[in-house]
């Protein structure tokens, strides 16, 4: 997967799903649109849960993640 897709695919999906959820309940009429709105607006919350579950944490940390296998820490220092 390209670097851009790896980094931005999920943020873009989540942003689109959030906007859809916000508009769906406002413009759509009926239970279907409400259900779609609740489902799509829940996606960011479910994503947070998924990312913070122990199994995922164990996969990725505390080891360094990066193509070179080394983390320079330069990004952190900029903060």
């Amino acid at each position: 997967m390209s670097g851009f897709r790896r980094q931005w695919l999920w943020p873009l999906i989540l942003a689109a799903s959030t906007v859809f959820g916000l508009v769906a309940a406002l413009v759509g009429e009926g239970a279907v649109w409400l259900g779609l709105s609740w489902a799509t607006l829940s996606m960011p919350l479910l994503t947070i849960l998924r990312c913070l579950t122990p199994s995922r944490r164990d996969d990725k940390s505390p080891s360094v993640v990066g193509r070179s296998g080394k983390w320079s820490g330069s990004e952190d220092r900029r903060w």
Binding site: Q7, L14, P44, I48, V64, V65, W79
Partner: protein, 373 residues
Amino acid sequence: MTPRTVRVWSWIHRWSSLVCTVFALLLCLTGLPLIFKDELGPDLGLENAAGGAATASLESMISRAQAARPGQVVPYLFFDRDQPIVKVPTSPSMTSDPASFHYQVFDIRTGRQIDVPQPNEGFMYVMLRLHLDLFAGVKGTLFLGLMGVLLVVAIGSGVALYGPFTRRFDFGVVRRGSGRHRTWLDLHNLLGIVTLAWFGVVSFTGVINTLAAPIELAWQANQLVEMSSQAKPVENEDRRASIDDVLREVRAAVPGMNVMTVAFPGTPFATPSHVAVFLTGSTPLTSRILKPALVDASSGAVVAVRDMPWYATALFTSQPLHFGDYGGLPLKIIWALLDVVTIVVLISGLYLWWGKRRRRSGVAASEVSEHGR
């Protein structure tokens, strides 16, 4: 992105966030109970009336409200979108500050008066005023609007920084065990990017909401004057048509719409000789967009009905997107959870800035002590 560009975005993000974070935290915390204002509000104890139609006389309700508050006037009638009730405020004059209104609530089907606490006192009122204007009126609202603009800048610059800060990681990685700072930085990045669209929309619509007062003024100065100019001169200024007759005329002229607010002559939303009636549609979106009808106060004849201008429509559309009160209780719960996530984003940003500041001052102190030896 070059290192210099990253430094510029970092500077923008740091300072736009720092200036508005305390106010953003206040807005998030006070907004949390306001999401559930209907659920936390008083129990109206409405009985199931047969048919459910509004049959009781509004004129009689106004008389009773005035009798209970001698010497006061009724400037407005506020109908409820969801409940068959009308709030009848009384005040010393038609132009009194709404904060001084005394409300009496009636069941519009039976005319029964409902005993409820005043909406302009208690915990929820304090939360509302802190959220709305910091108890400082229009100036407070506009100040919070400015803080909202800074928040939007902070969100935008945060997105610009997300790229360079996370380019070596898979999406959603939170490093643990390699320092508290890195964990909080990753958490800040994750929660910030995941709630980006929601927080961006809520912040932007919040800014639009702070412009309500200027938008009202613009409507009064332009549209209201134009609408009243369409009327014939009033023949008998002392005569007042019954409000029940006025609403009957309006409902006949604009069928299929619901009356939300009535502004009586002399209030800022009507003219000295006209009643302004504000109507809404029935869909989730149109139920938020007001349509004014101007009625001759003496004859009860409808003078003009027109759509609100685009800037007022933008304000009305932005309100549900800010409050999250248009999709039932599940949407409110999701709204509240996203609000809590936003609070964590704000606190983690503050923590990261404070941690860096402490580290820098620690390095400077050790350098000074080494030079001193």
